[in-house]
């Protein structure tokens, strides 16, 4: 009995695995095919490999990718610096007036759905002259990520022994020394997690670039992917090639930091 169940559960696991990965398998094999081959049978390997699909796709998405890399990097850097400073205030100073209220003010932001603020944020960005600028793409999402980042870094930083701070102070270290030489090295794991979560959110962001930018100057990858134009003779293969190129940065990051990825995504779940 238990052998049958164990066998059936293996089969079921295998089916789930195949179904999960199938779309990506199809994406990869069809990216190398001509339109007629794609239509004929999407499951078959390419007869004639169309490597030029990638060459044709690249010019349409390289610029949005560079734009998005810049925006993502900026949001990550702001998030790390601002979250570290804020967490340091809560961890280093035992008591100050309004401490709990100020912490709640940060966490409360995580409970407000982004859509509520969409319209006023757009008007604000326009009034500040930030419409269709990198600053406009960076600052509003960063303002959300810093709240998430502080939430994560504070709980991790609490575990640093207070005596370390005191020892450093006796040695004559000021706050900046302590932050850079004590807190930063000890916070590396949580900062990797924050980096990955923030990076994923920034790379995936669709709605904010959709409303706050126009044209190619600052175009972000999520929007660019929906606007790829292919000629009839090129076919969908070119689109698929573009999807693959656009996925590479995150996949490369995943290969190097799969452990932090998993931790980051799970700890990010607490944001609900």
């Amino acid at each position: 009995m238990s052998k049958i169940i164990s066998f059936l559960s293996r089969i079921l696991l295998g089916i789930l695995l195949v179904l999960t990965l199938l779309p990506f398998y199809l994406l990869v094999i069809n990216a190398f095919k001509s339109q007629s081959e794609i239509i004929l049978n999407p499951f078959q390997w390419a007869d004639s490999w169309q490597f030029q699909n990638f060459a044709k796709a690249a010019p349409q998405i390289i610029r949005p990718m560079v734009n998005t890399l810049f925006v993502t990097a900026a949001i990550i850097i702001i998030t790390i610096i601002v979250s570290l400073l804020a967490s340091y205030a809560f961890v280093r100073y035992d008591r100050f007036f309004g401490k709990e209220v100020l912490y709640f003010g940060i966490i409360a932001l995580l409970m407000i759905p982004g859509f509520v603020m969409l319209i006023p944020q757009f008007v604000q960005i326009t009034n500040l002259g930030m419409y269709n600028t990198f600053l406009g793409l960076i600052l509003p999402p960063a303002a959300y990520q810093v709240a998430m980042g502080t939430f994560l870094t504070r709980s991790s930083m609490e575990s640093i022994s207070k005596s370390l701070f005191e020892a450093a102070e006796i040695e004559g270290a000021n706050d900046m020394d302590i932050l850079v030489k004590v807190v930063l090295p000890l916070s590396k794991p949580i900062l990797s997690t924050v980096t990955i979560m923030t990076g994923l959110n920034a790379w995936n962001n669709y709605i904010w670039p959709l409303v706050s930018t126009t044209g190619e100057k600052t175009q972000q990858i999520a929007v660019a992917l929906t606007k790829i134009i292919v000629s009839v003779s090129d076919g969908q293969g070119v689109k698929f090639a573009a999807y693959i190129i656009a996925s590479l940065p995150l996949i490369i990051l995943f290969c190097f930091a799969s452990k932090y990825f998993v931790e980051g995504l799970t700890s990010g779940a607490v944001k609900g």
């Binding site: 979250s83 205030a89 603020m117 008007v123 992917l225 609900g272």
Partner: protein
Amino acid sequence: MRKKRTPWQYIKPYLFLLPIYLLMITFKYIPFGIAIEKSFFNWNGANINQFIGFDNYIQALKDPTFMIGLKNVGVISIAYIVIVLTMPLLAAELLYAVHSRKKQYIIRTAFTFPMVVPTVVIILLWKWILAGDNGVLNNILTNMGLESLTAPWLGSTKTALGSIIAIGFPWLGSASLGGLQFLLYYGALQGTSQDMFEAAEIDGANILQRFFKIDVPMLASQMKLTVTLAIINAVQVFDSVYILTKGGPGTATITPSVVLYEQGFTYKKMGYSSAIGVIMFAIIMVLTIINQMMMKNTEKMD
């Protein structure tokens, strides 16, 4: 030992909090306040700005498109709740039953992989899978001799909403729906002691008994969290709907977020649009509170 506090010492913690509060207040809390204020205004973001009381809210309740949108996210919410309580849990249990650590690690990585593919790429892939002409699903059906079942999945009012929900099937991939839940369940299973499962086995409990008597109470906190996330995602669902159907055909897949976007940016009815945002906020708050009260946390077991 402690040095006397100078006034400077009192100010310092606030200085460390200055950057975060500058950012949050400027780009989140002020816009949030404006959203609530302008929901009572006839506002186009510029020259038209007139207080109209609750008119926007009354208009929303009378707006058939918005009401269909609410009904649609009701359907999507229920579907998402059912999905996150079944498929990722099933996958986590099946994977946990695999004995080899190495195999577990490889399969977990495979289940996690789609989460790092950009969401828009996944949505566009499903656009191709579900396409009426030369779509993958129709191709499979035709090859199986089930030609009568083929359909323009996203283009027909009967199947469009179901198709939107089906994106990401078997829902272990996308970060917002499935993948995360799978990791939460799997992590919780891994974190429990083997003794309990062994004790249950010795007592002669069968798999289903073990699942409902031990696993489900143990995973209650994770289930509560995944349901909360499912509701938040469902009420705000936008990317997939806007990219695939723009709410159509007709109003078959319209959602409040799409109504908000179109009223605000296409028709410049930004006061009305803000009111819809506030209603969405209220719905999420109420549903989250109900969920917090109704669902149990993990029981403490000794």
